[in-house]
Amino acid sequence: MSKQPFISVKDLSVGYNSRSGSTIEVLRNVSLDINRGESIGLVGESGSGKSTLALAAMGYFKRGLRALAGSAHFDEIDVLALNRDELQKIRGGRLALIPQNSGQSLTPTMRIGQQINEALQLHSKVNARQFQSRVIELLAQVRLPDPTALITRYPHELSGGQQQRVAIAMALAGEPDALLLDEPTTGLDVTTQAHILELLRELAQKRNMAMLYVSHDLGAISRVCDRVVVMYAGEIVLTGTARQVLLAPRHPYAHGLLTSIPRLNQTSLPLALDGRPPMPGEAINGCAFADRCALVDEKCRTTPPDLHPIPSGENVRCFKSDMISDMPALNVKAGQRNSARPDAESAALGLESLAISYEKKDWLSSLLTPGATPRPATVDAINIKIQRGETLGLVGESGSGKSTILKAIAGLISPREGVLTLHDDIILTPRVEDRPAPTLRQIQLIFQNPDDSLNPRHTVAQILAQPLRLYYSLSGSALHDASADLLERVRLGAHYLDRLPSQLSGGEKQRVAIARAFAAEPEIVLCDEVTSALDVSVQAAVLDLLDELKTQQGTTYIFVSHDLAVVKAISDRVAVLYQGRLCEIGPADAVYKAPFHPYTDVLLGAVLEPDPDIAPILSADDVVELSPPARGCCFQRRCPRKLGDICDHETPPVRELADGHVIRCHVPASDL
């Protein structure tokens, strides 16, 4: 008998019983082989079944799900036939799982050393006397600084990236032969993400592990995977090498997914992949992708395509894989940003020497430690004028104060210093409670996570009624009509009015949140990471919607995001923040071109493009600083270009290079 691949899933179908008693399939006839030393990327939209497949490969099913047909083997062991105890022995030991946010799921009350100790006890044959040294070895292996000191720390004393490294160290404790990673870097900063991915890549090579990497982020996949498997509606639609799938995808869905990703070398909005995938259990007669496919014809609607090999080597589930070249090319100017140019004459919003601090003036501590100098403000010395109709992008790592600035503009936190002006002549009072109704209406906020920003107990109608009642005192049929109209404008329909947020998909929720903001007919809309919680294809559609609304109404946006490509796609001007200080600001094109501020350079270098030929440049550490330095340049502790003392002691000058392009650095612009 020929030897099976190390991990082998064959014709696996997974499903659950619906309340009405019928069986609903979540995965249909999926086969997947992974050899030792090979790393496979599993991509697809949320709901496509990628996590289900990854978990099933290790014999694990979320509650309610079960295998309907097929098999799954791990090193020739039939994992579907094992009982719970036997599975437990394999998992965490020879087969390790690193789930999403695993860094955050460390036990908060337990020291790092103890937690890894526990993993060793459970999953390794290491002699108890050698635990200590093994723990340190593991921490060093994931390249954590000063492992000996680290073992006595608690998880909250580490940064997000460090926590994630600890989680990886724990997974390595059992010396696994295979690693299963489910969105291991989602939610981490670009720089951190790039570092973690490099680490995983190296570990997999060094230890000759089989690796299955689940992600919706094609940029991450392109860094670590040899082969890529694309899933759609519970089926595999395309498999091939990373190069084949990412550079010349031979399936219309994979093609659409790739065109919907904003890229750094583009200046326009990415093309959106409209529509949504069929839900599990929905009747599908032909190709599952037919409703969204640009190449669809009669045959596609009646005959389901098979997954078949094509001459170039991939496996494709499509009748027209040789016609993909008829679709718009990847990676070129795609959708057009059609919004009007900003009106340079009139200012919408001014931030003048804005400083914000979360530190409360506490009479008790000021009594105990009199004369203590207050810590440096979280956000300091922000001077920005935003023109009417302009989109200002605000980028920076987590904790750089992006949300804090938006909250101050919205009146949710009072700045320590500085003035906010509306239209140059109206001074905004710091507290939202003191602002007159017309000013309130002018400024609206859209949040990152619609799950959190929509009250789960309110229907869409109730959600939209709130601003309409408050600002326009609408009621009865006028209210209904206005709400229905708003839903039309965000490309939903009046039939959504009676739904609760839990009955909407992520993209639909965010559209409702956008509709709620636009109900006020605001002049300025503050967008806080509004697309970060969404799938790339949905993200493209939401960006497109925001752009359309802006064209219709001449809205001014402040668009906060940690994703530099997204910011580039939508912004006229971009401001780069580090530790609450402005590093660079200027027209989008200028900021994304040399000369760069050293921090902008680091950020841009770490961006992961969905292209195996473009490797990130990791020029600075990914350590996360908890507070800004008291003096000198905000970036001094991580700067790869640091000059020396001058950076430690003197605040860099505001240097204007060309029309409105400002860089704050001691290095002369000609050297940047």
Partner: protein, 294 residues
């Protein structure tokens, strides 16, 4: 997987949807049936009992269960079956009034603490915690011994003590909700404080409070029966499960039938309430795992 995929679009009011979900769960349907049975019985038992619960018959003292007296008779020759049927009336009346009172006052105070926040909230919660760490029976005995027994003392006493743990829950729920973006969004739009509490906060906290109320009810029933058992609850000859168990305890070795009826009745009611609370929590989507008893 999006939640949409699993969930059929629901129709009808939320209450109706939740009720349907509740009874579609085995724990919900069994629990609710038990509770309804007990409440119904308490309402109609005076009309259906075969014997007068006070009627003493020295000839029947501690007689075994038989065709006439199905559960036998107690040490005063009273019919145990009739007394068991009626034994939950007092307990249900007292706890049925005291539970909502406890949830209302505890919920109100908890929400206030949660809204005030900061140092004040912390200090107040320390006091609440200190109070909670005292054994409950001790606290109640002190009050009852001071003010006497009887419904007019028992109801406020139980409502007071069982409202305190509710403060904790309501405060935590408030903290969770006010940190969420939809509350920030309402603030940023310029909604007033009252509107935010009423529209954004309350609907979300009420779910938690409802489940908490059901839980408190079962603990309160147990406490009430314990008080009766100790002689501080219902005064004889009114029948009460706790009291009946206490009375029959001395004769357990040779006349165990005296305790069987009240024990089954009391436990089935408490189990019923717990199952209902459990199913309710699931129907509402609340994680009840770490809520410990008082």
């Amino acid at each position: 997987m999006t939640s949409v995929a699993h969930q059929k679009l629901q129709t009808g009011s939320r209450a109706a949807v939740i009720f349907k979900d509740l009874v579609s769960r085995p724990s919900g349907s069994i629990g609710l049936s038990l509770v309804i049975f007990h409440v119904g019985l308490a309402l109609i038992s005076p009309l259906v009992v075969p014997f007068d619960y006070k009627l003493q018959n020295s000839a029947l003292m501690l007689s075994q269960p038989n065709a006439i007296h199905w559960l036998g008779s107690d040490h005063l020759g009273r019919d145990v079956f009739s007394r068991t049927l009626m034994g939950g009336r007092e307990a249900l009346l007292v706890t049925g009034v005291a539970t909502p009172l406890a949830v209302i006052w505890g919920g109100f105070v908890g929400i206030m603490f949660g809204l005030v926040g900061g140092r004040v909230d912390e200090v107040l919660m320390r006091i609440v915690d200190a109070f909670l760490s005292l054994p409950w029976i001790l606290k109640m005995l002190v009050l009852i011994v001071t003010f006497g027994t009887g419904i007019e003392v028992l109801i406020p006493t139980l409502a007071f003590f069982y409202g305190i743990p509710v403060i904790r829950i309501a405060r935590a729920a408030t903290h969770d909700v006010i940190a969420r973006d939809f509350v920030w969004a309402a603030k940023a739009r310029g909604h007033g404080r009252v509107s935010i509490i009423w529209r954004e906060l309350l609907p979300n906290v009420l779910d938690t409070l409802m489940v908490e109320g059901a839980m408190r009810w079962s603990w309160m029933l147990l406490a009430f029966s314990s008080l009766s058992f100790l002689g501080f609850g219902v005064s004889p000859p009114t029948p009460d499960w706790g009291l009946m168990i206490s009375d029959a305890r001395g004769f357990m070795s040779f006349a165990p039938w005296g305790v069987i009826g009240p024990v089954i009745a009391l436990s089935s009611l408490i189990i019923g309430i717990n199952l209902t609370a459990d199913a309710l929590a699931k129907a509402l989507g609340i994680d009840r795992a770490q809520k410990a008893p008082m």
